[in-house]
Structure formats: structure tokens, C-alpha cells
Amino acid sequence: MAAMHELLRLLGELDDQLVGCMRCGMCQAVCPIYGQTGREADVARGKIALLEGLAHEMVKDPQGVQDKVTRCLLCGSCAANCPSGVKALDIFLKARGILTGYLGLSPVKQAIFRGMLTKPRLFNTMLGLASRFQGLFTSPVNDIIGSSCSKLLAPVLGERHLMLLAKTPLHREVPSLDTKAGASGLRAAFFPGCLADKIFPRVGHAVLKVLRHHGVGVFLPPNQACCGIPALASGDRQSFEKLVRANLDVFGAGDFDVLVTPCATCTSTLKKIWPAMALGMSPQDQQRIKGLADKVMDVNAFVADRLGLIPPEPRQGAVSVTVHDPCHLKKSLGISAQPRTVLRMNPGCKIVEMNASDACCGCGGSFTLQHAEISADIGRQKRDSIKGTGAQVVATGCPACMLQISDMLSRSGDQVAVKHPMEIYAESL
């Protein structure tokens, strides 16, 4: 455990970012957690005040501050709505690292991040094993969604309805690819991300089908690592940097125009958080991060903007689809039109918009595990908005949102399919 003065010194380095908060409180209008609890320490203004208080020794309890700072979905709604442009997300990620450095990382997280996540081969093997046994503890509960529940695991998982690990993850079926540019003249590196690889390989296959259809060459290197956001969100910068470097190594070898991912969170992590957190890494790594981040694109944005799609009119009797805007697409990257363009490429679909389509679904990665109740309260509102449209399908460009929304719909016994826009387009090809 580092000394208190080191903690104060590191927090002091955040001061220039913290001081920009003028305490106007506008973040209260958009914070999903504050919307549930009404507690000031749950909203960005409160968290920033606490970090300033700690840095200036007006607050004495780092653990108390850490508990508040981690009650956050990292959805970025506050930053997107901040009148004075405070980069709240950067601040909270850095603060989690600083506070975890002082307080220490929990043994469970050490085992997960340092023992497993940072070793992609081992991680793949272990989850491969788990996928074979998970059926013993769970039973299917909703055919349309494909979810399961588990009485045995209830003490750990609560009432959650799960999307199980896929029998065959994407990396097993398609270990690597290196194809030439076709009609499009473009080559895309493909980063499926953990969830599209292990839980929703159908999304990965859909992306590959669409890219093939449009004559886009694909570079898919083996042994891709996690984007690092789970480790960073837990304050484990060491594991985060290790994962960043592992990915820089596997993608560094390729030659491509863009790097696409079907996961909103991975996209915003690679594109925005890697460069924001690069300070402190070697100049060479910083250079490599910048080079890669410049090429990163959400797969919907790539397909819609770079391949010149013109959606047809929906045909008679088209299935109604509603769209959820993932925070890490719309609020972080300003992408909301492109997923809609992509799914309108399927003439069998028509869009019915839901109320507050860009309201957070409440997943927030490990937030949903640590704060299951708040997460579910936020998720239920999303479920109600989806049901309100009467749509048969909800589409969203983020597998993490897909997990949460599947859980919420399944718990209510709703027969609404949850799909990625790329899946919907691929079905028409």
C-alpha cells in the first residue's frame, strides 16, 4: 500500500481536470444512477467534489470515496451533457486507478485480471471448459431470447437470466483470417471483443458475412486480448496496460485501412480511452496507440459511412424493430444514425423508435454484478420502453447492452428477440 502522500500527489495531478467542474449540477438530469437514488455522491458533481475534497485533505477516508467513485456505470452521460466540458469519464477511470493503487486490488479481481484475463490463451481455455459444464447448473427459460436461469447459482447471480457461453466461440471456428481487399478496395482489421467472441459468436459471423458481401478484405489475427476496460474500471492499470500491449502486438503485424469492432464499449475503449490513458506508457507504445486508435471504427459506422449503403423501402409486413443506443456509441462517439441505416438494409425490417432510446440500459460491465439492484432498476425502465413500442426485435450495437437487455426482457417473460444491427443486415444477404 503506497503512502498517503503519494495518493495526495497523484490526486493532485488530476486537479486541473477536477477544477473545471463549476458545480452547476446539470449532470443530475442525465445520470441513470442518480435518477434511481437521488443521492449527490452518485452523480458526477458529487464524485468530483469528493475527489477534490480528498486531494485537499478535507475528506479523510479514501475507501469511502472509492466506494462512491465505483458506483458509476461509466456511461458518460454526464460528460456528454456537461456545460463546462469536464471529462468526467477520464477523471473517474484515472481516479479508480489511483485509489486502487492506494487501497489495493481485491484478491478476486487480482485472480481474474492478472491470473486470467491478461493471458488470452488461458482465458479462452478456461471459458471453453466452463461452456461445457454450464448446462449442468442452468436451464433454458426463453427460446426467443435464448436465455437461461439458474437456481443453483442464485446466491451468486441473484434473479439474473443469463446468456450462456457459446458452445463454439468465434475464435474456434475462425481462428484467423487474412483476406485481400475485394470490390470495396478496403481492408478491415476485425476485433470481435470478448462478448462477440464467447457469448454472441453469431454477431461475429454476421460481421464477417457483411464484410465478405461488400468485398472488404479482413485481417483477423489470433490470440486477441480483451480491450482492457474491465481491468481499468477496477483500477488495475497494470493489467490494462498489459492487455493494450498484447493487442498492439497482434494488430501491429497487419496492414489495414480501418479496425472495426461490433462492440460499442470496445470501440470507445480503443478509440478514446486507450489514448487518454496512454500517458505513462512508453513513447513507442503511445505512438502505436495513436496509430491504431485513428483507425478504429464502430462496425456500423464503417459499413454505413464507408461502403455507401442505400437502404431500400421496407416491404409489406416487415417486422418491427426498435433500436437501443448504447452509451458508448452515442454519448462517447456520437454514432446513432449508422446502426439504423445498417438494419434498414434488411427490407424485412421497419424501425419503431422507443422512448429515450439513448437512456442507459444499466449494465455498466461489472457494475451489474456489484450493484445488481440499481442495475436492474435502470434496466427495467429500458425494458418498459422496449415493450412500449410493441416491436418484435430490439437491436443494439453493443453485446454488453445485449446481455443486460436480454436479462431484463427474459425476467419479464417478454418474447422480444435481441439482436445486433449487423445480424439483422446479414440475415438479408
Binding site: 463549476m22 452547476c24 449540477g25 443530475q28 455522491a41 458529487g46 477516508d61 466540458g85
Partner: protein, 459 residues
């Protein structure tokens, strides 16, 4: 806070609604005013009005200072608590109890969010005009306690013009009723009037009766560009003198224009010395007529260019530029001090000149924008509160801004309240007798001095 008392609060409002940890308490030590934080001893969040009343009594029985807080967007320190006092949150009391379309009023709990209420009212085809800048998060209770204003003050008035009644708790937790649901009411002392702008020092709101109106049928917005601040301010006076009262009549100086353009790329003329953003509303015929007259006045008084919004999209653009003003200025420096000294509108040219002098004298950057039509300008000082030498100059400049405003026959605060920030100046505008009268009033109503002590009239 001793254990027995803590348990009593927990028993009263429920354990989940009491916050006693350091981190939670610290997060209620500030509001939007640039002042030092003061950490309360306890924070409670009553889930019903009845419990709110019992909390007030419990505080009074134990002589605990009590500060009511809605969303903490106050710009004068009115929601900064007392050391060791109790912060009472109203944000769980957020029900709209009644919207009466036949009699044009609504009854609400104090924690209802202003914008939510306005939207709910609009959905019934009615209109609640007060629109303070913080309306997306501010509470109606806070608006009444501060007598909040907004962009529409010129034609539609401010919060006080929409308060028909306030039911509130006295320090013993008994309900005091005031006002009524009728247009006319002269029953009893005007206690509702006493509550408006009282900043939580005289009672704790239980529910509010608010006036509604039919919305205007049409609106037209325009932007007039000037190469001289004096010409812009003379135009403001001329519009009013022509017996036209626009719904909104906003001003931006050159520094603000350039900041907004840098930030929002709204297509503003960066070389203009001043802009007026004007909207007239009402019956379509009247709107067309008034818009034409306003345009003619602007031209006569030397506007170099006038852009009239042709449709809703263009109208929206005009107001987006205005809404971006504070954000654009706030991004220029770490600390933003937003003042609201107000002068009779005929004195705006003099006020503008004085502000320019003050910025030069104290070597500060001041961007000025605001509600020119009602004389309520917002000189906004861009600074860094960590730079102590500069901060002293900021404080001196603020003193001088107030002196000038008062010398011009103006007032210390148009809409942000006195709170802690301006209470030391109050006697300058009023008189010793005024302060003593107010203090005697407070002493009679709140003998132990528990209700938001120190605000407005000092301790």
C-alpha cells in the same frame, strides 16, 4: 451527531434515507456558488410530506440547524448548510398532485423538477412560463425559495408571479396554509408572498399552488447585430418605449459572441460588438405586427444586420447560441463567477460601460450576456480560484459591480438570491432598519434560529 439522535432520525425517515458517512455528508457541503464548502452533520431524505414535517420538529426540538435542499443549483450559497447541521432533501417529494385545466393552476410537492413540470403542463396544452437556466434539474421548491427568474421574465414575470399559495411547516412541524386556488384571494396575511424568496429561512415548504396560463399561439425570433454596445442598449430601451414587450430580449457582448462561436460554431458574427436576440410571441397577427416594428426599430437605431428566423429550425438556432453562452464561457477558465446584479433597463448602457471599466481596472476577463430586456445582465468573470492573488482582484471587482449597480438605482440580485454570497452587501441596498426588522421577524418565527441560519440577513 450523537447516537441516540441519529437513531431517532433513522426511525423517523428510515435507515436508507439517512446519510451519516463522511463521503455522503461531504457531497452536500456545496452548491453552485463559488464558496467554501461546509460539511453538515447529517443528511436526511424524507419520503413523504408528513415525515418532512416531523423532521423539522425533531431538528427544532434539538436545536439543530436545518437547510432544505432540492437540487443544489443555487448560485448564492443558499443551500450550503451549517457546520454539523442537518440537510433535508426534497427530491423524494416529487409528485405533481394536481393539474387543474379548468381553473388554470397546479398543486405540486416541493421536489418536482421544473422542466418536468413544464413539460407535463405543456402536454395538457397549458404553459408554466418561469424558465431558470437550471430548469432541467432545479426543483420548484427551490425556484420559489429563491424566486428564480429566467429568459422570459420581461414579458411573463418570474416565479413569484406564478405562486398562488404555499403550505409550509413552521419550526414546530405544524402546517401553515397560505393563498388559495382562486385567482383572487385576500384572506389573511400574504404569507405566500413572505415565503417566496425567503431562501428556507422562515419555513419549510410542504406544497405549492402554481398559476398556469394558456401558451402563446405563435412566436418569432430574430438576431440583431451591432457595431456598438451603446446602440444595442439604446435599442432595448426603444423597443420597450414603443410599447412592445418581447417574450425574450437577450444581450451578448463581443467576448461572449466570440466564445460561443469558438465553442458552438453557430455562425455568429465574431466582429460584432453586441448582439440582441429577440423573440416576440402571442397571437399570430400580433406577432407579425410586432416583429415588423421591432425590426424597424433595430434598423433605425443602427443595427448593421438583422436576421429573422424563417422557421422553427432557424428559431432554434438563435436560442441555441444563447443557451451555449454560459457553457462557452465556462470552458475558457477553471472558475466561472456568474453575477446577476440588475439595473433599471434604461441604465444598461451605463452598466455596460462600468463593467468594461471594472474589467480593465482589475485586469480580469469579464464576458457579459443576459436578460437585457429586464436589466438583468450576467457579467461572468473568468478566473482560477486557485490563483489567490487574482481571486482577491475578483472579489474587489465583485464589490465594485455591486456598488455601480446600486448607484444606478439597481439591485444586488435579479434572480440568484442573496444567500451567503451577498448578505454582507444587503444593508448597502436597504438600510440598517431593514436588516433589524427582518431579523426580528425571523427571531419571532424561528426562536432557536434553526432555519437555514446565516442566509440573507446574516446571523
Amino acid at each position: 451527531m450523537n447516537d441516540a439522535l441519529l437513531k431517532e432520525f433513522q426511525a423517523l425517515v428510515g435507515k436508507d434515507n439517512v446519510m451519516e458517512g463522511e463521503a455522503d455528508r461531504f457531497s452536500y457541503s456545496y452548491d453552485a456558488a463559488v464558496l467554501e464548502p461546509v460539511v453538515p452533520g447529517l443528511v436526511v431524505r424524507p419520503a413523504s410530506r408528513e415525515i418532512l414535517g416531523r423532521v423539522v420538529k425533531l431538528c427544532n426540538d434539538n436545536g439543530l440547524p436545518l437547510t432544505v435542499r432540492g437540487s443544489g443549483t443555487n448560485l448564492s450559497g443558499g443551500t450550503i448548510p451549517s457546520q454539523g447541521g442537518v440537510v433535508v432533501l426534497t427530491n423524494a417529494l416529487n409528485r405533481i398532485l394536481e393539474i387543474n385545466e379548468a381553473d388554470l393552476y397546479a398543486v405540486v410537492e416541493p421536489g418536482v423538477i421544473t422542466a418536468r413540470f413544464a413539460a407535463e403542463v405543456a402536454a395538457r396544452g397549458l404553459f408554466y412560463p418561469p424558465d431558470p437556466g437550471s430548469q432541467a434539474v432545479s426543483t420548484l421548491g427551490g425556484n420559489v425559495a429563491e424566486n428564480a427568474g429566467g429568459l422570459r421574465g420581461l414579458k411573463y414575470g418570474v416565479t413569484k408571479d406564478y405562486v398562488m399559495g404555499v403550505d409550509f411547516f413552521d419550526v414546530d412541524g405544524e402546517i401553515v396554509k397560505s393563498g388559495s386556488r382562486t385567482v383572487k384571494c385576500v384572506t389573511g396575511l400574504n404569507l405566500a408572498g413572505l415565503m417566496v424568496g425567503s431562501e428556507g429561512t422562515l419555513g419549510v415548504f410542504e406544497k405549492l399552488i402554481l398559476k398556469l396560463t394558456p401558451p402563446p399561439l405563435a412566436a418569432k425570433a430574430m438576431m440583431a447585430i451591432f457595431d456598438d454596445v451603446a446602440k444595442a442598449s439604446e435599442t432595448v430601451a426603444a423597443i420597450i418605449a414603443a410599447k412592445i414587450v418581447p417574450a425574450t430580449l437577450e444581450f451578448m457582448d463581443n467576448f461572449t459572441i466570440r466564445s460561443v462561436e469558438d465553442f458552438a460554431h453557430a455562425g455568429l458574427p465574431v466582429d460584432a460588438k453586441a448582439l440582441l436576440l429577440i423573440e416576440v410571441d402571442g397571437h399570430p397577427g400580433q406577432v407579425a405586427d410586432e416583429a415588423e416594428k421591432v425590426e424597424a426599430i433595430c434598423r433605425q437605431l443602427g443595427a448593421t444586420r438583422i436576421q429573422v428566423a424563417k422557421d422553427a429550425e432557424e428559431r432554434n438556432k438563435v436560442w441555441e447560441a444563447r443557451r451555449a453562452a454560459l457553457s462557452a464561457l465556462a470552458r475558457m477558465s477553471p472558475t466561472t463567477v456568474l453575477e446577476d446584479a440588475t439595473v433599471p433597463r434604461s441604465r444598461i448602457p451605463a452598466m455596460m460601460q462600468a463593467l468594461e471599466g471594472i474589467a480593465g481596472k482589475y485586469r480580469l476577463t469579464i464576458g457579459t450576456f443576459g436578460h437585457a430586456g429586464d436589466g438583468n445582465l450576467h457579467p461572468t468573470i473568468l478566473t482560477d480560484r486557485r490563483n489567490l492573488e487574482e481571486w482577491r482582484r475578483v472579489e474587489d471587482a465583485i464589490d465594485e459591480i455591486f456598488e455601480v449597480a446600486l448607484a444606478l438605482g439597481g439591485t444586488l440580485s435579479g434572480e440568484h438570491g442573496i444567500g451567503l454570497a451577498k448578505s454582507k452587501y444587503l444593508e448597502k441596498e436597504t438600510s440598517r432598519a431593514t436588516i433589524l426588522y427582518s431579523r426580528r421577524l425571523k427571531k419571532a418565527l424561528d426562536p432557536k434560529g434553526i432555519l437555514n441560519p446565516g442566509k440573507i440577513i446574516g446571523e
